[in-house]
């Protein structure tokens, strides 16, 4: 019997591993398509990386700079040149910061955004899901109204407003936290909340809706009829199933949060990756645009893969092979 159990576990392990490898291999064509679309799109937008906004350079100087960076070649050839480097792990130089490669920029700034994004996701989950559960279980009570009021407020107040508000209250008026920058846990508190609160509100509303649906299911009624404790009914039967749509959202949410938020990072002077996504497009810093886009794609694919794995853990009826 133990040998048979071991065999089943081993089979399941192999199935998961096969599934993982297959999904990760899919990353290659996905990155290929995304890279091609991004590359040709960004080159179709007018403008060059060398002009100062108010000071266009002489045309002959721009022509020489374009030749230096091979920007005078046909776009398809530039793409092949870029992909040749990318396949060797070289994402190219930043045109604007000549001593920094895109690899260096990602290596230096992605960990900062990753930590901030994960903390804010923690804020979102810890606040949003309990709020949604309480709201659903106490539907149409004061607790429900208060929770949903908080959720709507969280969605309605953008980071651009919440960040300076927290800064004014907690740092300038009360002196409890440093105003900005990155380097200690105290400096992470306000940005993590600013970024996480809006997401918490989304999760709260989603959890509430999902929970309301699940607690009306027959199996929940059956569990209650059999005398299972309310706590066990909610935690083991209702919540587990109610979390499926929430977990679905968590994948893309995680990818969006950990790859950086331009607004929050700018407000709190955090050296993350967020600003590079928007700034590189404005600056036509092509290698940085490509590098950050490919990074975002990879994180998104991996986050969705994690979500699919989580499905089978939450609900064993969902088989990985089928997804």
């Amino acid at each position: 019997m133990p040998a048979l159990l071991l065999g089943r576990r081993a089979c399941r392990g192999i199935a998961v591993l096969t599934y993982l490898i297959r999904r990760l291999l899919w990353l290659v064509p996905v990155l290929g398509v995304i890279s091609a679309v991004t590359f040709f799109l960004m080159h179709s937008v007018p403008g060059n990386p060398f002009d100062q906004e108010d000071k266009p350079l002489p045309p002959e100087v721009i022509a020489r700079l374009e030749a230096h960076y091979h920007l005078d070649e046909p776009v398809w050839r530039q793409y092949l040149r870029y992909m040749g480097g990318a396949l060797r792990g070289d994402l190219g130089p930043s045109y604007l910061s000549k001593d920094r490669s895109v690899n260096d920029i990602i290596a230096r700034h992605f960990p900062v955004s990753f930590v901030l994004g994960t903390l804010s996701l923690g804020v979102a989950v810890v606040i949003g899901i309990p709020l949604g559960i309480v709201s659903a279980l106490r539907q149409n009570t004061v607790a429900d109204y208060v929770s949903m009021f908080m959720a709507v407020s969280g969605v309605s107040v953008p980071a651009l407003t919440l960040g300076p508000l927290l800064m004014w209250g907690l740092a300038l008026q009360l002196g409890l936290l440093p105003v900005a920058r990155w380097g200690s846990w105290q400096q992470a508190v306000m940005p993590a909340f600013t970024l996480g609160i809006g997401q918490a509100a989304i999760l709260a509303r989603l959890t509430r809706a999902s929970m309301l649906q699940v607690i009306r299911e027959d199996y929940v009624r059956t569990a209650r009829a059999k005398g299972v404790s309310e706590r066990r009914v909610i935690v083991h039967h209702a919540l587990r199933n109610a979390l499926i749509p929430v977990v679905t959202v968590l994948g893309p949410l995680f990818a969006a949060l950990v790859t950086g938020s331009m607004v929050v990072e700018q407000i709190f002077a955090i050296p993350g990756l967020g600003d590079f996504y928007v700034g590189s497009v404005g600056d036509r810093d092509y290698p940085v645009i490509m590098g950050t886009t490919l990074l975002y794609t990879a994180v998104l694919v991996i986050a969705n893969l994690a979500v699919d794995l989580a499905y089978s853990w939450i609900d064993p009826r969902i088989r990985l092979e089928a997804t």
Binding site: V45, P46, G47, N48, P49, F50, D51, Q52, E53, D54, K55, P56, L57, P58, P59, V61, R64, L65, H68, Y69, S94, L96, S97, K98, D99, R100, I105, R108, H109, P111, V112, F114, V115, T118, L119, P164, M167, W168, A171, L172, G175, P178, V179, A180, R181, W182, G183, S184, W185, A188, Q266, I267, F268, A269, P271, D275, G282, D283, R284, W313
Partner: protein
Amino acid sequence: MTRVLGVALALLVAVAAGSFANAAGESGATGQAGISLALPGDPGNFDPATNWLHILAAQQFLTLVDWDYGSSEPIPNAAESWTVSEDGRTYTFTLRSGLTWSDGSPVTAADFEYSFRTIVDPESAAPISYRAFVIENAAAVNAGEQPVSALGVHAVDDVTLTITLTEPATWFLSSLSSMGHSVPSAAREAHGTDWVKPENIVVNGPYKLVEAVAEDRYVLERNDSYFDAGNVDIPRITFFVVKDASTQLAMYEAGELDFIESIPPGELDRIRDDDMLGPEYYNGPRFVVYYYFFNMAKPPFNQVLVRKAFAAALDKDTVTSRITRGGEVPATTMTPPGSTGHVPNETGIGIPYDPEQAKAWLAQAGYPNGDGLPEIELGYNASQLHQNIAQAIQKMWQDTLGATVSLRGVEGRAYSVNAAQGAHDVWRMGWGMDYPDAHNIHMELFHSSVGQPATFKNPEYDRIIEEAAVASDLATRQQLYRIAERILVQDQVGVIPIYWYADNSLTKPHVDRPQTPQFMKLFKDWEVN
């Protein structure tokens, strides 16, 4: 699953510790030996031989000459003296004796020769290369048609440097205050673009980079090998990268910064009225002009009377007092105050706000009350400020002239392309001076040899600014630039100057800084009480 979560948490803690450790630095130097400032963006590579001059570079590398903004005269820096040949084309500089790099090696004329060659070397791919094109063979070297050794910059011996120009240029010394910074050839050749990193950098200016954390902070310390180190008061300057102006102000109010010069316009009234912040507030001129170009290649702005009418219908006082509200100065001419060749508003040159005259000119042009006037497209690079200004001007032109004006905000780099192609009827531009001389504006923006065909071109104007470029007498130059401005902004109305930008800053009381306008702030002149 619990094990997986545990591992993920441990990983997060490790990454967090790493990112915190990497970014951790002092959170403000107030009260410490030094000052803390804000940079509105990461400097990237600040090698002054290949990039636009950055404030970090200006503190670390010597130019041949400096500039006295009071007397509008060049003053010695690395060069203690200089002479100009009779034909005005060859400058001979004599360097101070005993100049050294921070690694102990001597600063020689060969270092300056190397620096100028680097600027124009096509291998450098330096966007600033065009600024050196006045030097003999520079354009040909940059085009790859001649070797760098053909450049008209030669080290005669260790302390003597000659620079030969393509033509006489009275403004050349002024331009040297912001170009041709000496860079260390040995460090540069040994480390490539990494030579500007703290572990590799070698300097000869008042300060030296000791710490650099990209997108976070840059720390300069006094360079004891600087020739005048004894008179440099502030031992340490920490620049924090803080892109948001509101955050800069909050950090300043919390005592985490000692000086800021990016103040949100909406906060200026509060600052001026505040008992504590008011005395720390400074407002002065900056070397930047805000102006509108006309597309003169097609109706209606191919008629000078129409251009005059639109200029006279633009109330610049309203723009600066109701919209920008940062102490900007309405401008009737182009060259900003403080520059050689500036023509003050008081001279009467330019077109003042006069709605009745504007209507009369438009009627004379054949568009009484705007009848028959085609729709005007006003372009600007998309930003809230430019949009607000454009909306105000749109209303002025509609109310006064009966013109139908449509606004078109275009994203920055795409806008540069539009502007270069004359894609709008009227479009917004700004010009920050590269050096404080009217030549920089007139020759690089409005001479017939530059710009695109739809903009102002005038042979008489060309002749006058060419004459001003070589005139050796300051009074003569001033007079010539008056005539040039009159043609440009009054007789032909090639552009409408709108305002000169203002320097709005806050400085903590324990910091003494020069209150005169400066092209680039030099902290060697600052003191801490």
